[in-house]
């Protein structure tokens, strides 16, 4: 990679010849600002699990191909770009940073994530954003059934359609869907799309570098706050 005025090298790791543990250890060794390469390229991922998992450094990792389960799980600070598809649990429990997947992702994308931005340029399958706790997720395509199940905080933007039981048992997370919603889960309702919400969607689409979706075309869904946990009479139970 060449930038104006300087030449920055890319550390290339080929998983056809390098064990995955060795790659992840080298990436982990950069935690806390330790010196080392800031730009990494991973070749021949071939669906291996836990690629670039548990990062804690301001680095960029490109994965050239399809990743397996839990790619970029628990990510902190780092940018991980998957030039292919990703399996179950991509960016699960992400704390901060950016994870971008050029292709499709399997189920439980961004599960339990606490922060950061996950961008999926293809479709996400079932349970996208399950139990999200502050992560922001932008999906250019559609999401599968039971997405944002028990979502607590954060934001899910879907440019395509949503499957059945969207937002089942949702707490405070905001869901924005441009296309159709096959069905809403328990206690999830459509809500008014005010200017502040359009602005939020616009901001997220900008950060996701998606410019072919009009923010005003999205509809907003969230909690009706009618389930047990929302009743004040139950507040002292635990």
């Amino acid at each position: 990679m060449t930038t104006v005025g300087e030449v920055t090298s890319v550390e290339v790791v080929d998983l056809a010849t390098t064990p995955l543990r060795e790659l992840n250890q080298r990436l982990h060794d950069l935690a806390g600002g330790a010196p080392g390469p800031r730009h990494w390229r991973v070749l021949n991922p071939n669906g291996a699990h836990a690629i670039a998992c548990g990062l804690d450094a301001e680095i960029e990792v490109e994965v050239k191909g399809h990743a397996g389960y839990y790619c970029a799980g628990m990510n902190k600070l780092a940018t991980v770009r998957v030039h292919g598809n990703a399996g179950t649990g991509v960016a699960e429990n992400m704390m901060s940073g950016l994870v971008v997947v050029e292709g499709n992702v399997s189920q439980s994308a961004g599960a339990t994530g606490r922060g950061g931005l996950l961008v999926v340029h293809g479709d996400a399958s079932a349970r996208c954003g399950i139990s999200m706790k502050g992560i922001e997720i932008v999906v250019r395509g559609s999401v599968g059934h039971m997405s944002a199940f028990m979502a607590q905080t954060g934001c899910l933007v879907v440019c395509g359609d949503a499957g059945d039981a969207l937002g089942d048992s949702i707490y405070e997370a905001r869901l924005y869907v441009r296309g159709s919603v096959k069905g809403l889960g328990a206690d999830c309702v459509e809500k008014e799309m005010r200017e502040e919400h359009v602005a939020q969607v616009r901001g997220l689409l900008d950060r996701a570098q998606i410019d072919d979706a009009d923010p005003s075309e999205f509809r907003r869904y969230g909690s009706a706050r009618q389930l047990y946990t929302f009743k004040v009479d139950n507040a002292g139970v635990y």
């Binding site: 669906g47 399809h66 598809n85 499709n104 399997s106 399958s125 079932a126 059934h145």
Partner: protein, 302 residues
């Protein structure tokens, strides 16, 4: 856990190297299922009027030639066409059901693993790479094949409890998941005359499909019936004489990936099992929807 793989050849080249590719896929699913492994391969159709059985013998020194002699004397000219470890393939000039019934009645030391005209099933306890070596998977040609690596949950680790399970002539089933209503269903199927040989949940699902097909359902109808009558988690891969079909339960907890090129269609629990196939990088790839039956047949892609 458990791992599932399936490969359907669309070219002669893939047909010739089917076993080699299947073995590579199966080995990738080792850590999803280290307890036992098995494959169903569709190949070498029996001549008209004849049928093909795969038989298992716990005794590796079983006298298969003597068996062929017995079959020839009683029900029709029989020939042992291959012996691989504990399994032998017998082609006999008789109906598959008739030949199967004879073996069950007269050779309790043997077990009929598959019956039909094109199917062969091999399965054993142990890890997939050892299985692939023991059964020389690399030698197999065929039109399509299924495989399974098992991590046992519902019943013991035995050869009988390994997948694939035969579900009728030229039909078989592999399963990732677990069924919770299999005891009751096993009793109901027994009343319908469907035999089970183990306490395994998947065998009940196989028996259920066999029963629905016997009652006149199409494969698609039988699979859709699973959505109503089976309680539990499952990704099923069903092999037929002409192809295979995939079904996931409505919750779809158990993974499945499908991929297709001009040369093959593949199904697996995970992408890494498909990544070993030629041209996988350029394959069209997707995840099957829950509660939707996907099927490929020889004619459909011809």
């Amino acid at each position: 856990m458990c791992g599932i793989v399936g490969l359907f050849a669309k070219t002669g080249e893939i047909e010739q190297s089917l076993g080699e590719h299947l073995g590579a896929m199966l080995v990738q699913m080792d850590d999803r299922g280290p307890d036992s492994a098995g494959v169903a391969v569709y190949r070498d159709p029996a001549p008209a009027g004849a049928s093909k059985l795969t038989l298992y013998s716990a005794d590796l020194l079983a006298d298969w030639t003597a068996l062929a002699g017995e079959l020839t004397a009683v029900i029709g000219a029989a020939e042992v066409t291959s012996v691989r470890s504990s399994h032998a393939v017998v082609v006999v000039e008789a109906g598959a059901a008739e030949a199967e019934d004879w073996v069950r009645a007269n050779r309790p030391d043997l077990r009929v693993v598959s019956a039909g005209s094109v199917i062969e099933i091999y399965k054993e306890v142990g890890r997939p790479h050892a299985f692939a070596r023991r059964f020389s998977l690399g030698d197999f040609h065929g039109t399509h094949a299924l495989g399974h690596t098992r991590m046992a949950t519902e019943s013991r680790v035995t050869t009988e409890g390994s997948h694939p399970f035969s579900t009728g002539l030229d039909l078989c089933l592999v399963h990732n998941g677990s069924l919770s209503n299999h005891n009751r269903l096993r009793q109901e199927l027994r009343r319908e005359g469907i035999r089970t040989q183990t306490e395994n949940d998947t065998e009940v699902a196989a028996g259920y499909l066999a029963w629905r097909l016997r009652e006149g359902a199409t494969l698609e109808q039988a699979l859709e019936g699973c959505l109503d009558d089976l309680d539990g988690f499952y990704t099923f891969l069903v092999g037929t004489a002409d192809g295979f079909a995939v079904l996931r339960d409505p919750i779809a907890c158990k993974p499945a990936v499908l991929a297709e090129t001009d040369e093959w269609v593949a199904m697996a629990s995970e992408w890494r099992a498909i990544a070993v196939l030629p041209g996988a990088g350029d394959a069209r790839m997707w995840e099957p929807e829950p509660a939707v039956v996907y099927a490929w047949e020889k004619q459909a892609v011809a």
